[in-house]
Amino acid sequence: MNGAACAPGISAVAYAFPAVSRSVQELARAGLLHSSPDTLESLGFGQVHVATSESPYELALEAARALLRDNDIAPDSVTLLIYGGLAGSAAFARADTAPTAPRAMERYRYPATRLQFDLGLANAMVIALDQLACTTLFAAVRVARAMCLTEGMARVLCVCSEFTAADGAREAIFNCVSDAACAVLVERDAPRNRLRGSAQITKGYYWDADALRDEIIASYFPTARHAVQCVLRDAGWRPEDVHWVIPHNVSLRSWQILLGLLGLPNARLWSRNIARDGHTLAGDNFINLRDAMLEGAIRPGERLLLFSYGYGAHWTALALEA
C-alpha cells in the first residue's frame, strides 16, 4: 500500500447502539445463550446491546448523522457512500415487529439509497457491500481508499448496521453478539489514522460455516496469523512495531492465542469493549478505535493493527498510523 502521494485515512468514527443492554446473566435467563454465562464471562463478555424496538436502518442513520454532526462534515462534501449491512426490508424491520413476506417491489427499497437521501448526501454516489459478514467495514474502508486514490474522491462515508439473527440467539461460537451501527469517514488526506497496509484472505472452501465448523476453527488461527503477516509486510512493519492491536470483540481467549502466535504481549490488545459492548459484528474494530482514541490510549503516530474475521470466510487486517 505504498507509493501514493496522498494519504487516505480514517478521520472520524461514530456509532449507535440500541437503547437496551443485557448482561450475559440476563441473556442466559432468557434462554438466548448456548453456553453458560459463567463461561462467557470467563471469555471476557459482560453485556451486549439488544435492539428491542429499533431497526438496523434507524441505527445506521443515527450513527452516520452523529459522524457528520460531530465532525462538522457538510453532507454535500461526501462524494461516496458505501453501505454494508442488512439489505432490503430486513434493514427497515424493527426488532419488535414480526417479519412479513416482502412484496414484489420491496426488494428495491434499499437502505443505502435511502441513507443517501436522509443524510442529504446530494453529491455522493452509492455502493453497497454484502456477504462479507464481520469484515464488511474493512472492505468498505479499502474500497474507499481505492476510490480516493484512483478517482480522487475526497470523502467517503462507510456505514454498516447489523443486527443479530431473527431468532434472537445472542451467541455465535462462544461470542456474545450485540446489535449496533457504525459509521467511518475515510478522507483522501486524513490527518490521522492513515492507512498504511491492508490484507484480506478469502477462502471460499469454508463458505458453509455450519458444515465446516471444526475446519474453520482449526484454520482460524494460522490464517489469522498469515493475514496479519501480510498486512505488516504491506505496511513495512515488524510485529514489534505495533503499538496497539484493535480487535474485533470475539473472546479474549482467542485473542490471547492469536497474540501468542504473533509474538505480541497481551498488553498491546485494547480489549476494554469486549466486556461492555460484546461483538457488534462488523463495527467492532472501528468502535474500539474511536473509544481508544477518546480515552487517550492511542497517541498520534502510533502504529495500530486491526484484524477481523468474517464467516464466508474472510480474514482481514488493516495497518493504521494513528
Partner: protein, 367 residues
C-alpha cells in the same frame, strides 16, 4: 531342530518392527531360529503370512508378558530354557494415551517378567532391549547415547514406562544392549506405510485442515526413522559380543529435517493435488508450548466433541515438538557401520503415498 542352532527368543515379534526384525534376522543369519512369543493364533497366522517360507524357522510360543513367567506352558518354558541363547525384548504398549498403570503393566512389569525368566535360563548370553529415544522425556537439546537420566519429567506415560524399563534392564543380571529407536515414519525409503501411528494421525489432521497450531520452532529437528533401519540394526547387534552394556540411538540425528521445512515440503506435495489445493488449507502455525496449551485447553473446555477428540489425542505426544532434541548417533553409527537414511530422502514419497491412499488405515492411537 538342528544342533548348534542359535535360538533367539523374541517378544513383540508380531508387531510392526518385530516382524521386520524377525525377517531380517532369519535372512541375515541362516543358523538363527526364532522363538516368538505370541498372544493369539490370529497374530501368529499373520506373522506366518508375512514371513512366508522363513516362517519354517520360527517357533510360536503362546504367552503374555504382563503375567509372571509370561504365562508360558510348562513345555514351552523348558524348551526355551534349554535352547534360548539370546532375547530380543520388543513387546511394548506404544499407545501414548494409556494411563500410567496401563503403561506400567506392559512396559515395566512386562520387562521385569522377561528379565526374571530370561535370567533363569542358563544359556542366554545377551538381552537386546528395544526402548525409545524418547526416554529423554521432557529434556531438550543434545541427547547423548550414554545419557540415562532425566530430571525433566515425561510427556506421556509411555515415555516414563520405557525409561523405567531401561533401568530394570541395566540393573538386571543379563548382559544387555539397549536400542533406542526414534519415531518410525514408514517401512523403508520407498515411503510405504504399513501401519499408521501417532505421527500419521497428526499428518492426517494437517491434511484435513484440522490442525490449527503445533508447538515448536521452525528449526526444531523432526527425528524419524524407517522400520527397515531399526530392523536392520536389531539384526546387526544380535550376534555381536562386543556391544554388551551399550546404548545406541537408532535415530536420524543429523539427518533429520527441520519441523518448518518438513511441514513446508509436506504441504507443497499435497498441493500438487488441485482438489486439495483449492481448499486453501494452511500449514499449522508453529507456536510456543504455552500458546498451544491455551488453545488445547480452550478447545477442551469449549470445543465440540469432534475437535476435542482431536486435540486430546494430539496432547499425548505433540508437546514433544516443543522440546527439540538433537539425538547423538555417533556410537550407533560406528557400532552398526551404517546409519539411518536421511529423512528428506523418503519423507516426500511417504506423504505423497499417504494422501494417495486417502489415509485408509485406522491410525493406531487412542482418541
Amino acid at each position: 531342530m538342528r544342533p548348534g542352532v542359535f535360538t533367539v527368543f523374541i517378544t513383540g515379534g508380531t508387531g510392526l518392527i518385530g516382524r521386520a526384525a524377525i525377517a531380517r534376522l532369519l535372512r541375515q543369519h541362516p543358523d538363527v531360529r526364532i522363538a516368538a512369543l505370541v498372544r493369539s493364533g490370529e497374530r501368529w497366522r499373520s506373522l506366518v503370512t508375512t514371513l512366508g517360507p522363513l516362517a519354517a524357522r520360527v517357533v510360536p510360543v503362546r504367552g503374555d508378558i504382563t503375567c509372571d513367567g509370561l504365562a508360558l506352558g510348562r513345555g514351552a518354558h523348558h524348551w526355551l530354557e534349554r535352547h534360548s541363547r539370546a532375547v530380543v525384548h520388543l513387546a511394548a504398549d506404544t499407545v501414548f494415551s494409556r494411563s500410567r498403570d496401563a503403561a506400567r503393566a506392559v512396559n515395566v512389569d512386562g520387562t521385569r517378567h522377561v528379565l526374571e525368566l530370561a535370567s533363569s535360563w542358563q544359556g542366554v548370553e545377551r538381552l537386546v532391549h528395544v526402548s525409545t529415544a524418547f526416554v529423554a522425556g521432557g529434556r531438550d537439546g543434545f541427547i547423548a547415547e550414554q545419557d540415562n537420566g532425566t530430571g525433566a519429567g515425561f510427556v506421556n506415560p509411555y515415555e516414563w514406562s520405557k525409561y523405567e524399563a531401561e533401568r530394570l534392564v541395566r540393573d538386571g543380571p543379563l548382559p544387555w544392549i539397549i536400542l533406542r529407536p526414534s519415531t518410525v515414519a514408514c517401512d523403508n525409503v520407498t515411503g510405504t506405510v504399513t501401519q499408521l501411528n501417532a505421527l500419521h494421525f497428526a499428518l492426517r489432521l494437517c491434511y484435513q485442515g484440522l490442525a490449527a497450531l503445533l508447538p515448536g520452532a521452525e528449526d526444531a529437528p523432526m527425528d524419524v526413522v524407517t522400520t527397515h533401519y531399526v530392523a536392520r540394526a536389531i539384526g546387526a547387534v544380535m550376534l555381536r559380543d562386543d556391544l554388551a552394556g551399550e546404548t545406541l540411538h537408532l535415530c536420524a540425528g543429523s539427518r533429520s529435517l527441520a519441523l518448518g521445512e518438513l511441514l513446508d515440503r509436506t504441504f507443497h506435495i499435497w498441493a500438487r493435488d488441485e482438489s486439495w489445493k483449492r481448499r486453501g488449507h494452511i500449514r499449522p502455525a508453529l507456536t510456543d508450548l504455552e500458546t498451544w496449551q491455551l488453545f488445547t485447553h480452550t478447545v477442551d473446555e469449549l470445543g465440540d466433541p469432534a475437535l476435542r477428540r482431536v486435540t486430546h489425542a494430539l496432547s499425548h505426544f505433540i508437546p514433544q515438538l516443543a522440546l527439540p532434541k538433537w539425538f547423538d548417533t555417533s556410537r550407533a553409527d560406528a557400532a552398526l557401520g551404517f546409519c539411518a537414511p536421511t529423512v528428506a530422502s523418503y519423507w516426500p514419497r511417504m506423504v505423497e503415498k499417504l494422501a494417495a491412499v486417502a489415509w485408509e488405515q485406522r491410525c493406531r492411537i487412542a482418541a
